[in-house]
């Protein structure tokens, strides 16, 4: 086993944990401090024709990409051993490329719309622009790895032997630095871009993705809330103002 250099340790053992820490603490902090700012900040009121195509295209694409990542990174290769390797690879590449291209087209349209539609442009904050840089970078680099590993432009690369092993090892608290260090540069850069995206995530509008309202399907249509005596309300009791009786 080769010795890891400092840079390798920083990138593949320190950065992942920094990412997890910043993401987790950031999300909790944002939720507690800034519930009011936790929103999609929809811009559909300003413009609805472009967004009708762009937003679903992007979102469905990115959700497929997320599922792809889960399958590729989280599920060990042995578990899918029953599927012929070539078939699995072909499937992954085809679906991955479709999802990636949808996402990219979607986001290009979204950015085009942000830039060219007057009201949408004036409603774009610095934070949005900053976020878009990281998001686009991660998506583009991701597509590059897909093409690189696909075998279309040279030998295929099976990241599930290396990158995926490293990814899971982080969560076993035993990061396999060498697995990642030996993988092709495109994978390394994409992984770094991905981690940076998660680091900024809690501080951008992307938080909306974590409030996907699945509970809607299960709750009764009409919601009642009361201020009954047993409902403590959102504000904690203050010293000297505790209630008497009851």
């Amino acid at each position: 086993m080769t010795e890891s250099t400092t840079v390798q340790i920083l990138l593949w053992a320190v950065l992942p944990y920094v990412t997890i820490a910043v993401f987790a603490v950031g999300m909790i902090w944002r939720y507690r401090y800034d519930k009011f700012g936790w929103t999609t900040r929809s811009s559909q009121l300003y413009e609805r024709n472009l967004i009708r195509i762009a937003s679903p295209l992007f979102h469905i694409g990115i959700l497929a990409v997320v599922i792809g990542h889960v399958i590729g990174l989280v599920i060990p290769e042995q578990w899918t051993g029953w599927a012929p390797e070539a078939a699995y690879h072909a499937m992954a590449v085809v679906l991955g490329v479709i999802a990636g291209v949808c996402t990219l087209t979607g986001i290009v349209l979204l950015i085009y719309r942000r830039r060219t539609v007057g009201p949408v442009f004036s409603a774009t904050t610095k934070n949005d622009k900053f976020m878009y840089v990281f998001l686009v970078a991660a998506i583009c680099l991701g597509l590059v790895t897909t093409f690189y590993g696909s075998g279309i432009f040279g030998p295929a690369y099976n990241y599930r032997d290396t990158v995926a092993v490293w990814f899971r090892s982080i969560f076993y608290l035993n990061p396999q630095i060498q697995d990642m260090a030996e993988s092709p540069a495109s994978y390394q850069v994409h992984a770094i871009a991905g981690m940076l995206l998660f680091i900024i995530w809690p501080f951008t509008r992307l938080v909306h993705a974590f409030s996907a309202p699945l509970g809607y399907v299960f709750r009764p249509y009409v919601v009642y809330r009361d201020r009954g005596p047993h409902d403590p309300g959102s504000r904690p009791e203050r010293r000297g103002w505790e209630r008497v009786g009851r």
């Binding site: 309202p213 201020r227 005596p229």
Partner: protein
């Protein structure tokens, strides 16, 4: 039976002069902020007319409210839950800003800063959305008083509907200029489609008083409620990315004060009071098969607070004795259920709206007077009401899903009251047969007259205070100034204008007022906190785009 209380409103359309005072005072109180420039929680629209937002009543187009499925269940017109979730990335039925209007200000600065020249400088309109010069082509009440009538009014969805039924006669009678004003706020429905549309469960109906509110901390900006509400009374704040709506001025209602729109109404035509209703039967009532039965079904939900059985059930279900007392004296209960003169707006949307309207008799009286007849005579009026079929059908389309019966009944009662009281005022013998013709006694007629014509403040507003023992949980009661940051510390959070804790309304208003009262000269426009617009401008703060005149130095004056 599960008894719940609902704060309801009745508006007597006969008295509305279309002055928009209610809209303006409401705007000053609630929507004078960035992001809601285009929003009017209270708006007054001329009927016939397109309304605000344009043609909102056309549910084929906007898909608001509920529909009854073949199996007799209720479903949101915009689609079932799964369908709505798949449409979350882009809501296909969201009105665009243009459907409301693009808010603007004027470049006043140009009036004094333009260089000396041949031409008089002008203040060009400038969009409050893009900041660029714009052409004003529409606003919240562009077709006020039938402005642009021949062109715009025919687009009125209600008119279109009756036109299908009676053909060209609409045009004919329309030219006799039948017109009235319809002030609208949120209906605080018993079966609110907005609440049902909200994927995050951020919208709710308060179980104490039925006020429908948006929890600003839970709203995630999915903007489904805007589509859900058939009255288009939920608005999207495009700066904060959150939904906002009429709050029925809950901070005032909680302390027994009428809403701002009611308090400032020039015609003194608004009534506020409690309804008691049977919450268990709401869904069933909203799902009756025939649309024209919805009015009766809705009335049927409303319980008689004088009935001992209802009283016992109310006390059992936690309604306080003073609230029960208020329900007994409720003007809205009397107008809607006892006298049946007040009717719900568009019951066919199946949301069980709780703002009721007394249909206007005056257009009919006016028409009658124009023919040279005695317009205060009961028989003449009954005859006129019968013969003015189009106005009656129009009103029926608004208030009873097209069934002229209840509208006629209400108009007849009003006509009877008018002529009965004329006889009385002229010192004649009150003619008992007039109230009898509409199924009332002379005493009831006097009572109705007191309520509608004398309309004393304490008769119009019977608002029980919220209970102190639950007061701590009320949204705004208590010392609203003691929250993080404290008074004066309020600016925006780390993530820009819309982030951080929202400033409670009372605090925001307090600071805005203080700033305006204490400012010496003119506020710095570059100051991000200067939330002043033309509507609350009193010459001290600066509306956007207004010149910043430096205070004169002593020497120059």
């Amino acid at each position: 039976m599960r008894v719940m209380a609902q704060m309801g409103m009745v508006m007597n359309l006969d008295k509305c002069i279309g002055c928009h005072t209610c809209s303006v005072t409401c705007k000053q109180a609630w929507t004078n902020r960035a992001g809601v420039e285009y929003v009017w929680f209270n708006n007054v629209e001329t009927r016939p007319g397109q309304g605000y937002p344009r043609t909102y009543q056309d549910q084929e187009k906007w898909k608001g409210g509920w529909v009854r499925t073949k199996r007799g269940r209720l479903k949101l017109r915009a689609g079932g839950r799964w369908q709505r979730l798949t449409q979350i990335f882009s809501n296909p039925k969201l009105p665009e800003l243009d459907e409301y209007y693009e808010p603007w200000t004027y470049e006043y600065d140009n009036l004094i800063s333009a260089p000396l020249g041949e031409d008089t400088p002008v203040a060009r309109p400038k969009s409050l959305i893009t900041g660029r010069p714009m052409k004003i082509e529409w606003s919240a009440n562009w077709d006020d008083d039938l402005a642009g009538g021949p062109e715009l009014a025919p687009q009125d969805p209600v008119l279109k509907k009756i036109k299908d039924e009676v053909g060209d006669r609409v045009k004919l009678e329309f030219e006799q200029a039948f017109m009235f004003y319809l002030p609208r706020i949120c209906e605080h429905c018993l079966n609110p489609a907005c609440v049902a549309s909200c994927p995050s469960g951020a919208m709710y109906k308060r179980s104490e008083d039925g006020i429908v509110l948006v929890d600003q901390d839970s709203c995630r900006g999915w903007r489904m409620c805007v589509t859900g509400c058939p009255y288009k009374k939920v608005y999207f704040n495009h700066r904060t990315g959150k939904a906002e709506k009429c709050t029925l001025c809950y901070p005032r209602i909680e302390v027994g004060m009428p809403t701002v729109c009611s308090e400032t109404c020039v015609g003194r035509l608004r009534y506020l009071g409690l309804f008691l209703y049977d919450a268990d039967r709401v869904t069933e009532a909203a799902a009756v098969e025939n649309e024209q039965d919805l009015y009766e079904a809705q009335l049927d939900l409303i319980l008689d607070p004088h009935d001992p059985e209802v009283q016992a059930a109310a006390l059992r279900d936690g309604i306080a004795p003073d609230w029960l007392e208020a329900a007994k004296n409720s003007p809205v209960y009397r107008l809607a259920k006892e006298y049946r003169v007040a009717l719900p707006l568009h019951p066919e949307y199946r949301t069980m709206p709780m703002v009721w309207y007394i249909p206007p008799l005056s257009p009919i009286v006016d028409a009658l007077r124009d023919t040279g007849n005695d317009a205060e005579d009961a028989d003449n009026m009954f005859g006129a009401i019968q013969s003015l079929r189009i106005p009656v059908e129009y009103l029926a389309e608004l208030f009873t899903a097209g069934d002229p019966g209840p509208v006629l009944q209400s108009l007849h009662t009003l006509a009877a009251m008018r002529s009965f009281m004329r006889d009385e005022n002229l010192g004649g013998q009150p003619d008992e047969s007039i109230p009898a013709a509409v199924g009332m006694t002379a005493d009831e007629m006097f009572a109705l007259y007191r309520l509608l014509a004398i309309a004393k403040y304490e008769d119009r507003y019977v608002i029980p205070e919220a209970h102190a023992e639950v007061g701590r949980q009320l949204e705004e009661l208590g010392c609203s100034l003691d929250f993080e940051g404290g008074p004066g510390q309020y600016s925006s959070g780390t993530f820009g204008e819309a982030s951080g804790r929202p400033t409670p309304v009372a605090v925001e208003t307090f600071h805005a007022l203080k700033q305006r009262q204490t400012t010496e000269g003119i506020v710095d426009v570059a100051d991000a906190d200067a939330k002043v617009n033309l509507l609350n401008w009193d010459g001290l703060g600066v509306p956007l785009g207004v010149p910043t005149v430096p205070p004169r130095s002593p020497e120059s004056s």
